[in-house]
Assembly symmetry: C2
Homo-oligomer: 633 residues x 2
Amino acid sequence: MRKVYLSNTPRQEALDRFLAGVEIARRSEVTSVKESLGLVTAKPVFARLSMPGYHAAAMDGIAVQAEKTFGASDQTPLCLASGDGYRNINTGGALPAGFDAVIKIEDVQLLEDNSVEILTPATPWQHVRAVGEDVVAGELIVPAGHRLRPPDLGALLAGGITELETFSKPTAAIIPSGSEVVDPGRERKPGSVPDFNSTVIATYLREWGAEPYILPIVPDIQDKIRAALSGALREYDMVIINAGSSAGEKDYTFSVLEELGETFLHGVATRPGKPTILGQALGRPVIGLPGYPVSAYMSLEWFARPLICRYLGLPVPQREKMTVTLGRRVVSEIGVEEFVRMTVGYVGGRYIASPLTRGAGVTMSLVRADGLLVIPANTVGFEQDEQVEIELYRPRSELRHNLLAAGSHDLVIDLLGTALKVRNPQVSLSSAHLGSMGGIASIGRGQAHLAGVHLFDPETGQYNLPYIRKMLPDQKVHLVNLAYRMQGWIVPAGNPDGIENIEDLAAKKLGFINRQKGAGTRILFDHLLQEAGLSPARIYGYEREEHTHLNIAAAVAAGTARVGLGILPAAKAFGLDFIPLVEERYDLLISDAFYRSEEAGLLLSIIADPSFHEQVESMGGYSMRDAGKVIEA
Amino acid sequence: MRKVYLSNTPRQEALDRFLAGVEIARRSEVTSVKESLGLVTAKPVFARLSMPGYHAAAMDGIAVQAEKTFGASDQTPLCLASGDGYRNINTGGALPAGFDAVIKIEDVQLLEDNSVEILTPATPWQHVRAVGEDVVAGELIVPAGHRLRPPDLGALLAGGITELETFSKPTAAIIPSGSEVVDPGRERKPGSVPDFNSTVIATYLREWGAEPYILPIVPDIQDKIRAALSGALREYDMVIINAGSSAGEKDYTFSVLEELGETFLHGVATRPGKPTILGQALGRPVIGLPGYPVSAYMSLEWFARPLICRYLGLPVPQREKMTVTLGRRVVSEIGVEEFVRMTVGYVGGRYIASPLTRGAGVTMSLVRADGLLVIPANTVGFEQDEQVEIELYRPRSELRHNLLAAGSHDLVIDLLGTALKVRNPQVSLSSAHLGSMGGIASIGRGQAHLAGVHLFDPETGQYNLPYIRKMLPDQKVHLVNLAYRMQGWIVPAGNPDGIENIEDLAAKKLGFINRQKGAGTRILFDHLLQEAGLSPARIYGYEREEHTHLNIAAAVAAGTARVGLGILPAAKAFGLDFIPLVEERYDLLISDAFYRSEEAGLLLSIIADPSFHEQVESMGGYSMRDAGKVIEA
């Protein structure tokens, strides 16, 4: 069978070998200054002209000859005649020949015969902008290797420069490969995968200063990959192949690159990103990217970005860093450098960061991430509450107002986040899907601002409060109703198994898909089981867990489960049937410190807003009759 | 005469009044996801499809039915037949119907009859990427008011979204005004000013998310300004007039705006930026910007940027901040918020920031600035060595390797900076033109890495060392020769006054332009005076000071001085004559800590490089015969 081998080259070593092994042929071109924003100078630029090019008035007033004003004082006012004695001048105006100072209009008294009176003498060159005060001819305006910003363009134009030499953007071919890969606009069939990676890769490359070209999709056929690569090598400065970089049966990137050029390494000691190939052919750099989106984008940043910077003579930009407190323990394997996407919020005076899923295939983890925790290869991870440094994906100033919602997730929380952003763009909301119990625990540890909870307590028949009292006995918190929502069976369209109650699940041995431990929906299911006198062993698939309502519905839609417990909008998203079972109370648990903040005020005002109620109820399965009601202050 | 009045409205109050007084008509449009990078979502976007849309193998290996593998162990290997028993599957492949787990290829032994042997059972759904693991249908991908980044586009396409609604960029008309203003490409005449402001304003607006349009230049004629403004108001979302915003004779922005709409305020309590006008007409925001470039760009950022963000529903971005040590005292007037451009470098373990010129007209101060010190209105300034927070114009990671050159300035230092950047793009160089004495003092206070010095000591006939020994008696420093350079008289072309020596200056009463106190060139001039037995009073213009050789030459070229003392390249930049006088030694004084750094090694290797010598000597007036020679270790 197939041979499996991937090296474990440390990332920095991989980059060093890559940059040492490829040729970088920098090109430059002449560009109009007006069109040069963001381009990089190929040579230092010196001013050709001075700005101002003449002695100019720095104030509105009159131009005078300073030596003729000596002696003016309160006691001995001096009178100057229009013309020879003074001239009116506005800010920016040219000093007339022979005049060498300006007196401010406030210090001048106009007399009836059009002459003026002054009470203080002018010193030579007062209120005069000397030639070259802004830019002086011969002066260095910008060095080589400088990325041009708006004021640079101003100084260049002021210095008489209208064209300059800038480095040409390196061109990059992106070859999407894979027999299952199709254009993202096409209809999807089982086994086909839309090529969204190429768009992401192209937009990253453009942001970093290259000119990307997405070539046609190539199937997993060695000859075709070889043809695509050798064609691209003749036309572009660098080639990026995505994917086929692993060591599977149909991963041809490695062997094709070995044929056409050389591979510097195959496999980087990182997670995600390991199955990366770096090499060259015809002297051009070639990068084989992994197929999983997060792996691909990380690897692209590690290896393509420094390459582009090298072409442009720029330093590799580094993200802003910040020290944060870990909301949860993060473990890592020795020998592998790990990159963990994190949410970050400012809770109780500390920036709290918590890990998102580590799945290399989860693009949404990058969309949701506020920052990145890099765990060095020689580290086993970090403990909860430990201080660690992370790289920021969003500016620190934004994270200062990023609300962390832990606990059970619901679409209403998403709508709340959007409504917050619309009313105050400074405020944003990140969600961690921890389940209701996880949410209460997060509030307890001061790691979230709010948490969605919907926990039924069979003993008291009450929602939420009994759990909060038990888990947070000594903590002042606030509980506010967000919505009532209907839970029910999510089943294939038409309910082919005729499910009505939990006994049907057991009797018909239908494949069930469960929620994770600590989720309110799971606790509800366990309660239903208990009420019916059924043991979990009677439910086929009880152990199989998903973390969201939507993922439950997705499993039913895919036919790998016949039934799940969840909410109506999830069933609707997949065109499934929904058998209503019980209306439950979904509350927001809010920490006391946050409850007293301005942002909480905004949040509560949205929850109380009738137009928000209308928006939520229109989804179906929700009642907002108590929305905003304080359950316990 | 003219009435002069400008209010002193605090900046935040001005912004609040502006935003409260204008109408923001947000528009949205449908955009292809592939073209949507950097645009802002007008609505929340939920996934339409799941990604993957089917259960996919997460590993290369074989697909199996988990329950048929139970019981496999080292002692009881299990044999599975191809077809019903197992199927080969690659990462990303669709799980065949009826199969529910994947076994990694490494754990499979292929037998001769094409069946396989396994030693461990599979658990259901192991190594399977469930439907919706990446993006699940119905899930919120991005909220409204979200600026789209590369991974967002990936998640949108993965979620089956190919088009989305984004906010339209607000359009902004830029009206350049002023009878003296001409297109920057045109030939310049005395009294004409190239319109470089419009280009800077347009590129800033584009960076911030608007769509700028530069309208034709309008002369200072009230009717024409009125016509331009009322035309622009009908076509664009906002109008920016530059300049005419002050209270001078020909500043019509205020009166025209009062005619067509209303002025919220005229005058902001800032320096620079005071003569700003904010108002509206036809419900559209109108900003009257000051004419001085630095004032204009600052005011633009304070008032146009929040307006654009409001159109796009985005928070106003804030710059990264950093605490620095002040290299020099910075004083400020009470009642005025001051904005001081600063250089920043990492010297001796501290970030040291020093103020650049405060001139509102000096575009180069923005080009050179590494950061901005904002001095609140109620503060008189800050003392040297005080810790202050500044806003960064360049990322902190770049400033870590920004070398601060204090002291005398010379073009060779600029060439050195460019050569450094070319060899290592991480390293940059900022220059403060402090004169030789200022440079020695800066090194003494640990506020610079290196300083250019050329100080002749008449008593010993030596250069530099006597001054350094006197000023830094107890400090270990290093002195390295950079170049010898010729100083001489800079005079109009053809030397019309026939200047040969200093006696001619005094005898012919020629207007002289001097260098600032502490500059090596001034000390040289004083020495020449002393040698000739002349008192400074004999030199007409002895008190008039400029800070650079180039500005000396500019004054001579403009005809406001007849002669100055300086170096050959300065004379050449203005097509002036140069009467050589004395060759002087120009050394670099280097702090001990910096001398032992990697960056200093790079610097010294450039100074010793023959190709660098060639580049410098080709300018004329330089000899590199001792370049790199250590004067005193």
